[in-house]
């Protein structure tokens, strides 16, 4: 396995203002290519520090992937550092220059001198155009080592890597044929999943990694292609409906696709999740085929006026209760005229908890032609974690209700 290092550039990470999520993502991608990441380094936007870190990394590893510091402001000095580390001069890239001019003219502006900094690439670089922003990626070959430089904006970095860089790395470093699989699982704890999958994984001879967040467990498998397939099939059989997907599809994608296959529409009524379920669904391209509307009913008034919930019922049982979530679902189904619906109400905190209904208490109800399911959950953690977990568990409940019907 070729040794690889990652260099993340940006003072904002060293000061703690930004987390370096790019390196986490890149490590997984590089692992897919069987490249072994042996070191990750973060340095600030300081020319001398970056040059030193690049030279050290290139002395140790066959591949160095650097991110960040390619923008137009004066503290962005990665291009200059790469040129110096590789002993090259900086030259104006016509390709990047043209891209900047087109972008500026669409916005009715001119290319400023500082924007031009982004086009001054080290001589004899390979340029990877950036379809999502201005700063392009680069590859520089130096002393038999490869240095790849990508912008720090996460979706620009990911786009350039996936669409352009990955194929080059694959061609150069020739992965040894390892295959990977992943499963998303709901309704079980991380340790339960670990116990349940240990047998199938060991029988098939695949390595596994388990990650849990906000109520969903991710299982990553690595092994030969038939071994991974065998393990995935065994786990799907053992865990049944708790497996959300084994194809890489996300939970919202699975829900949208399940509704699309059954040619029905769905709607949501959200109190404590405050729009997060709708946001997850509308994050899926083409969600409009199955999702037309959502109600954020954060107050009692909104639950009464938008969903027709009985005010006296809310008063008697409280807005966070089985009768209230059932009434929200009933009102949603009637008013939206959708085939499936989800209602969520809970206490996200930090205030509003009581001994009988502590912060984190959430009622969820999903319904459709095959009937309704109502559950109560108690999510740990702070407000954002409760809201995020409630949204994801709500979507999972909706998935289970939709899947009770056969596809059209």
């Amino acid at each position: 396995m070729a040794r690889c290092e990652i260099l993340a550039i940006g003072t904002e990470m060293l000061s703690g203002d930004r987390q370096d999520t790019n390196s986490v993502w890149l490590r997984r991608e590089l692992r897919e290519l069987a490249l072994q990441v042996v070191r990750v380094t973060q340095v600030g936007d300081d020319l001398a520090d970056i040059v030193a870190a690049l030279q050290e990394a290139l002395s140790r590893a066959e591949l160095v992937v650097a991110t960040g510091g390619l923008g137009p402001t004066e503290d962005d000095c990665t291009l200059a550092a790469v040129a110096r580390a590789a002993g090259r001069e900086q030259v104006l890239s016509r390709e990047i220059h043209r891209g900047l001019e087109e972008r500026a003219s669409r916005a009715g502006r001119i290319v400023t001198e500082s924007a031009l900094r982004q086009a001054m690439v080290p001589a004899r670089s390979r340029v990877y155009p950036n379809a999502r922003g201005t700063a392009p990626g680069l590859a520089v070959e130096t002393a038999g080592k490869l240095l790849v430089v990508l912008p720090g904006v996460p979706d620009e970095m990911k786009g350039i890597y996936r669409e352009q860089v990955a194929a080059d790395l694959r061609a150069r470093f020739d992965p040894c044929g390892l295959s990977r699989g992943s499963l998303l699982i709901a309704g079980r704890w991380e340790s339960e999943v670990d116990d349940a999958v240990a047998g199938p994984c060991e029988a098939a001879g695949v390595d596994r990694t388990i990650l849990a967040s906000a109520g969903i467990v991710e299982l990553h498998l690595t092994g030969s292609e038939p071994a991974v397939r065998q393990a995935v099939e065994a786990i799907r059989r053992d865990l049944g409906a708790d497996v959300i997907s084994s194809t890489g599809a996300s939970l919202p994608e699975v829900v949208v696709e399940a509704a699309r296959e059954r040619r029905g529409a769905l709607s949501v009524a959200e109190s404590c999740t405050g729009g997060r379920v709708a946001a997850l669904l509308t994050g899926v391209p083409g969600a409009s085929e199955v999702f037309g509307r959502g109600y954020v009913v954060y107050s009692d008034d909104a639950k009464v006026e938008l969903l027709g919930v009985d005010r006296e019922l809310l008063r008697r049982h409280g807005a966070v209760s089985r009768p209230s979530v059932e009434a929200m679902l009933a009102g949603l189904m009637e008013r939206s005229r959708c085939r499936w619906g989800l209602a969520v109400t809970g206490i996200a905190g930090p205030g509003g908890g009581s001994p009988s209904k502590p912060v984190g208490t959430v009622w969820l109800a999903a319904g459709g032609p095959a009937g309704a399911r109502v559950i109560r959950r108690s999510f740990p953690g702070s407000r954002p974690r409760v809201q995020e977990a409630a949204a994801r568990i709500g979507l999972d409940l909706l998935r289970r209700v939709i899947l009770q019907e056969e596809p059209a």
Copy 2:
């Protein structure tokens, strides 16, 4: 400012299975002590790699803080690496040994040979006992540099740092009174902000870092307390209403607080943002005081039925147009009976674009007693970035409309 480096040790981080959250936390803590973190390095549990990384870091920085690899298993080799890097032998710490024995006897067990590994500290170390686990922290003085070693389990690391290490570092490095400030700015490009703040920052003698994401620019300042205050005041004066906050408050927090100060309520009608504006608002604790309801109107039917938009108008101008967003806002204001409202409609992509309305085209309208503002924006990037930027620019527009009125 003393230069400091962080070394995070553990193979699980390099494989991408776990994120290195310890370094993020430590960077903020060290910044509080005015220690300048110039580099963060992650290495796996490999003795030679750790020794090399420790020696390199100690050659550059006055303080090195290392975390992880202190446990009982065979791959934990940080103690041996520290001993080798500092040229010391390993000796049995009676204090740690006694702690391990007490812990084992409470559990009715005996101290195993592998557990004893954790007590073999480099000679002449300062030991920081671990009240939450078994592996203690250490400080080693070598060639005038200080090396602090902490366990990798986050709450053990944080506990030892806060309760024991921080005071030692404060005493040794004597913070020089550096102060920090930050501003959130909307309505200007990153490079425009850079041009606008360069003068005030240089006049006041403060260092600056600029970050941009999803339509909002963050500016972080560092300098003496009066210098930072002077720069913040000058920038606020120069940039006027484009400054969202200079207190650390987020954009949603500023919007909620502005509405609360004016004792009014707000509501949102979202098409392309699909619930993201509502989710941002309800992420603020206490948002229910000013936010009671939101409409996710993703389809034409929903715009007609929930907001009373004229179907013929949608047909004639398209859902992404000035007349449509104005009609959405008018319907929202009438039906929600709120003092302020925001309507958003656009093309998030990847499909749905046309030459006259490309992907990324978004119309936003915010209104209240002081009048309405309608803007058209063209956001670059992929679907999630368009949705995220539209949600944030929408909130900013709402902020500007609310701030036109005097607080109650």
